[in-house]
Symmetry: C2
Subunit: 183 residues, 2 copies
């Protein structure tokens, strides 16, 4: 039941945006009573946070990419991982729903920020053990987020159509540089 | 009158999103008849394109940053220009309205893509005179777009609060690399 509600929540946030989606509309789409949504998750903000956690489940595993493997290939592992999640239509759809809400609404942006920056980026940063590690992780993420936006959301050409390997070849060294190069 | 309608259009796209905004709601906000909006601009899509052109007026001057000055400082000029536009609350607001619409709606994304990629990025690419110039310009833009999103929209810390100069110092070489480095 929890999964049914979460799936309905993701669809509602995607179709209606954070502001128009409500606990009531999510309950209705899931075919349950609003009280049950409140029971499982609490407020709309908390349903949104739960939906992000599910959508970002693959990304929350990203810190593993920092620890597992040679440090000089960290940029490539992270690039392949993040662009791989975006490249797969199944994992892209929930991400896109969350990003749309976060870009459009301050509350949704705050939830997104706390989860993604607070968990994913902070864990990557801790693995770096370098000065300005958080800023490094964020600027690496900026290259990946921007690339995903232009390739998968705005779909500018040729970026939207070139082979993923061409992008990895150009982006991975940049990500590696942000993470570990001397400044 | 054209400017009043455009300002109302920008506000409508920002507040209601591309889908909910309509020629009628824009006309009402501008205090004019819908026929006048159609007369000046045509369809909603065309009003949106006009609103983008105004919002991106500073960015449409960006190609000047490619031509004026030493080529090895191109990355820094472009970085300062783009992040400068985002750093100024007055030029940021209209940009944000457009980006929100483009992220949320396919039609708005297409208009955004044609104008920004077709005009700004294509002109920068032509100035490069290198193989894969368009892809280079797009990946440079990806670093800048991602940095702007995380700093000004999602507001992740420390990126949201560090001095702009710290960001320029780290991002400009990356932008320069995308644009002109050997691949």
């Amino acid at each position: 039941m929890r999964e049914v509600i979460l799936e309905a929540a993701r669809a509602q946030f995607s179709e209606r945006g954070y502001e128009k989606a409500s606990v009531r509309s999510i309950a209705k789409a899931a075919g349950v009573d609003s009280a049950l949504v409140h029971h499982y998750f609490g407020t709309k903000e908390q349903v949104f946070a739960a939906a992000i956690e599910v959508a970002f489940a693959p990304a929350f595993q990203a810190p593993g990419a920092v620890e597992d493997g040679p440090p000089e290939e960290l940029g490539e592992r992270l690039t392949r991982f993040i662009l791989g999640v975006w490249d797969n239509p199944e994992t892209r759809a929930p991400l896109l729903a969350i990003v749309r809400s976060a870009v459009s609404n301050e509350t949704a942006a705050a939830v997104f920020r706390d989860l993604v920056a607070g968990q994913v980026l902070a864990r990557i940063a801790r693995g770096l053990d370098l000065p300005d590690a958080e800023l490094r992780a964020e600027l690496a993420a900026a290259q990946l987020v921007g690339t995903a936006m232009l390739r998968y959301v705005i779909k500018v050409e040729p970026l939207a159509s070139v082979d993923l390997e061409q992008i990895v070849a150009r982006v991975a060294p940049v990500v590696q540089g942000h993470l570990t190069a001397d400044q």
